[in-house]
């Protein structure tokens, strides 16, 4: 039973097709990677899955439910979270507050209750902070919790996005180039972190350029080229696939 199922997905910008007739499914519990040359449509695919872009055609099912037309916040509520290629950390908050926003779906005080700080709010506030600290600890960021996000280096912010996404307790986590801009040590740490996330029961959908990382931790690799599915299989199969090699060497 696949957790995520994509059927005949298409997206065109003006006349340009960014994704063409794409179908695949992601089984639960895997680290499932999507690779492809620059401009292959990987980030576009993520934006379609979370409905930040509206698909031109096709449909997307999550846990058997059609999510093609749902707004992003409802998709999030069903258990999909993501990180971004260009950081989207809330720079106007500190670290723990960022992650507390990630707990939005697991708490419920509204504007009115918050404004009057009803007793329920005070209790919930403490609970949410604990949940956030737990997510921070999982990502190794506990020491940074009271620092303002705007003062932190890039590598930490990347982890912060992961912690924030995890705080919503998703079933599926989309990660858009988490290793970009990280040094070797940081990349190694990231490998372990992604595996730990998978082991905690969260399915990971990964877009990444770092082939070493992808081949080491993925169960399935899907190759996109010019918005089309070029190949799909285990890391070992993909590395041997002549079409994939040709696409990467630029013979098209």
């Amino acid at each position: 039973m696949p957790l995520l199922e994509v059927k005949g997905l298409e997206k065109s910008f003006g006349g340009l097709k960014a994704i063409t007739d794409l179908s695949f499914s992601v089984p639960e519990g895997q680290i499932f990677s999507i690779i492809g040359p620059n401009g292959a449509g990987k980030t576009t695919l993520f934006n379609l899955l979370t409905n930040i872009y509206k698909p031109t055609k096709g449909s997307i099912f999550f846990n058997k439910k059609d999510i093609t037309k749902l707004p992003p916040f409802k998709i999030a509520a069903l258990g999909i979270s993501r990180t971004f290629q260009n950081l989207q950390v809330f720079m106007n908050m500190n670290v723990v507050e960022n992650v507390m926003v990630g707990c939005h779906l697991r708490s419920k005080s509204g504007l009115f209750a918050s404004a009057f700080r009803l007793p329920s709010v005070i209790a919930e506030e403490k609970r949410v902070r604990d949940m956030a600290l737990e997510a921070l600890e999982f990502c190794g960021l506990k020491d940074y919790s009271s620092q303002p996000a705007s003062a932190l280096p890039y590598g930490i912010l990347k982890k912060l996005e992961i912690a924030r996404a995890l705080a919503s307790k998703p079933r599926l986590l989309l990660m858009d180039e988490p290793a970009a801009g990280l040094n070797d040590t940081e990349t190694m740490e990231l490998c372990r972190l992604i595996e730990a996330i998978r082991d905690s029961g969260i399915t990971v959908l990964l877009v990444e350029h770092n082939m070493g990382l992808v081949m080491e931790i993925s169960q399935t690799v899907l190759v996109l080229n010019y918005g089309r599915l070029l190949a799909k299989g285990s890391p070992r199969d993909i590395q041997k696939n002549p079409e994939v090699i040709a696409a990467y060497l630029g013979e098209g």
Binding site: Q88, F90, V101, H104, L111
Partner: protein, 323 residues
């Protein structure tokens, strides 16, 4: 206790001032303007500072509150409290209906839409003279009474305004440290990331727009009763800009920033009286200079500076301890 320490000190000062100086012009006359402007600036800051949504039409809701009180008490003979309730109802409906289409817009489009709304409401005050009394406005509002006690002196009004202002400040501080406040900050920081965290951004923006409008509306009703009359010029486009200036001057996103901004801008005309015609020029110059050189605002800039110094000192202590 610690979270609200600043608030307690501020409340103490606000409430003790008129007891110490009951006949001082700056307390009981200028003070009233200061208090009402603080309430308005704090309410606007909820929308502009917390949620990052600019509004150039906040004076419209202030005006609607004031005019509702005037019209329903004088023309239709309702009790002042009933009139305030009607005002709230009107502002609630109007702001709720308009909030979604308006807040779908961003940046200068949002600026234009809120500005347009403010101007239309103001033109209505000036033109619909059978209802609003036209450019002359409406005078002779009845005295407001609380549990049978009439509010009939400036000193009593000071306390009413002060309590209303302090409640506004407290609500604003509460929101800052809450799930709702973080959702607003998230919308401000990155709308897309906020949505991905499950925040219904359209709803969150709409709620804070309505909330902020309702506070302005009550402020308007109180203002109308205290002044005893309403006229369109108190609610023009320029007053909306002045409110924006207060929020920006103190520092967007900080409740006490809005308090400081409103305080400075409300007493400024009193201090500039000697300059008479220079007032407009100086006002414009302040607005520009602050935004160019201190885009975080006066209060926030000072606060950050203090935090930075404290941080450096703690770093030094760590260094000393380890060496």
């Amino acid at each position: 206790m610690k979270r609200l320490l600043g608030f307690y000190i501020f409340s103490f000062i606000t409430l003790v001032l008129p007891i110490l100086f009951p006949d001082n012009y700056y307390v009981t006359v200028v003070g009233l303007t200061v208090l009402i402007n603080i309430s308005l600036a704090v309410s606007l800051n909820l929308l502009m500072g917390y949620a990052g949504q600019i509004s150039l039409g906040h004076a419209a809701f202030f005006g609607l509150g004031a005019y509702s009180s005037a019209i329903f008490t004088i023309k239709y003979g309702f009790n002042p409290w009933t009139a305030i309730f009607f005002g709230l109802l009107i502002v609630f409906l109007l702001s709720y209906i308009l909030s979604r289409p308006i807040l779908k817009l961003k940046g200068h489009y949002l600026a234009m839409a809120t500005l347009g709304l403010g101007i239309i409401v103001h033109i209505f005050f000036v033109q619909a003279d059978e209802i609003t009394g036209g450019p002359d406005g409406i005078s002779g509002l009845p005295t407001l009474s609380i549990f049978g006690f009439p509010i009939d002196t400036d000193l009593k009004w000071y306390f009413i305004f002060a309590i209303f202002m302090l409640i506004t400040v407290l609500l604003s501080l509460n929101i800052a440290d809450s799930r709702a406040g973080r959702a607003l900050s998230a919308v401000h920081g990155s709308e897309i990331a906020a949505q991905m965290m499950g925040i219904d951004t359209a709803k969150v923006k709409s709620h804070i727009f309505v909330f902020s409008a309702l506070i302005a509306c009550i402020a308007g009703s109180l203002f109308a009763h205290q002044q005893n009359f309403v006229s369109p010029e108190s609610f023009s486009f320029f007053f909306s800009i002045e409110l924006v200036t207060m929020v920006v001057l103190g520092g967007l996103g900080s409740t006490f920033g809005a308090v400081v901004g409103a305080f400075i801008l409300s007493i400024l005309p009193e201090l500039l009286i000697v300059f008479e015609d220079f007032e407009v020029l100086i006002f414009g110059a302040i607005l520009m200079t602050i935004m160019i050189f201190l885009p975080d605002g006066l209060f926030v800039a000072i606060k950050n500076k203090i935090a930075f110094l404290a941080f450096k000192r703690s770093q030094k202590e760590v260094a000393n301890a380890t060496s």
